[in-house]
Symmetry: C2
């Protein structure tokens, strides 16, 4: 998606050879025009979706945008913390390692919001090693829901996430793909 590629070239920053900082338009301050266009782009890549599944926090904006463009279908976001009003007996749960934060999160979805009749599109802001997407796929499998595919805003193509997901038979679409980060320079596909 050219609009996104242009913004990465203009405002994105690389830290070392791994970390991409896009917090001025993606995951701290959000460019809502770009958000709307990314939502339309990712929505156009998938058919027959009944529900979007994403993960808090920075997946939420993109999840609801895609779900709106798919005809205002529901968007569920998996939670990283268990609040006192989330009934622990009635949740699907999995563990997700965060590349950015360097920790492991218990991620959960209330069983009422994932069902065997759901045809799920998984949406996230980043695809790196694929841990987050694989965790969300695991939640769908626990519910018996069908996964129609995985849509991400930014794929870091050099961290293997796409390969791990495609090997399980799922389609991956990205609005932009980073081929590599080299000495602080971002090289886009």
């Amino acid at each position: 998606m050219q609009e996104l590629i242009d913004l990465i070239n203009k405002e994105g920053h690389a830290i070392g050879n791994n970390i991409l900082k896009v917090d001025s338009f993606i995951n701290h301050q959000i460019d809502t025009k770009l958000l709307n266009d990314i939502g339309a782009f990712l929505a156009s890549k998938f058919e027959g979706v009944t529900k979007v599944l994403t993960i808090e926090a920075s997946g939420i904006a993109f999840g609801v945008s895609v779900a709106s463009h798919l005809g205002f279908i529901p968007c569920v976001f998996a939670k990283k913390n268990t609040s006192k009003i989330l009934d622990e007996k009635n949740i699907y749960r999995t563990f997700v390692e965060s590349f950015t934060h360097g920790n492991v999160n218990l991620v959960s979805v209330d069983k009422r919001f994932l069902n065997k009749d759901d045809k799920i599109l998984i949406i996230d802001d980043f695809l790196a090693e694929g841990n987050s997407a694989l965790g969300l796929i695991d939640l769908c499998n626990q519910a018996g829901a069908e996964v129609k595919g995985i849509g991400v805003v930014l794929e870091k193509g050099f961290q293997g996430g796409r390969k791990r997901i495609e090997e399980l038979g799922y389609r991956v679409e990205a609005a932009a793909t980073i081929e590599k980060i080299e000495n602080g320079k971002i090289i886009l596909k």
Copy 2:
């Protein structure tokens, strides 16, 4: 907002006399048609806004919706955790007590995204005691940004948040107000 009031009556649940569970359409599974309509409603209540400020996680969907309806202005979400790519010297920070989770969060915004020229609309899903909104007002004050008002989806009118905020001179708008929760019954204004 009648559409929201109808959904609260249909799908909302009260726990005890304090907690309102609206996770089937507001803060776990999101009804994206309702989200869009709430965004339009809250956006229509304020003028001269240049940026929306909200807080992760469940404020984000409503923040970006309102910002989109205000002409695709930027939406910044305050972060509750400090990742290793967030430079600690360059953030505004405050402490916010969470009524739902019963803990205190360090909440931060990168200094690049709040400026003295910004005219900020603060958006959140819930207004209870007002701690979250007061924390976001504090961040705006640190930046010298002007706060144009506070818009929330659901106000729990019996917990005093509106009074604390209005006493500081800020306007509060809510899409729906809960007068009280009594023996598991939700009484709407």
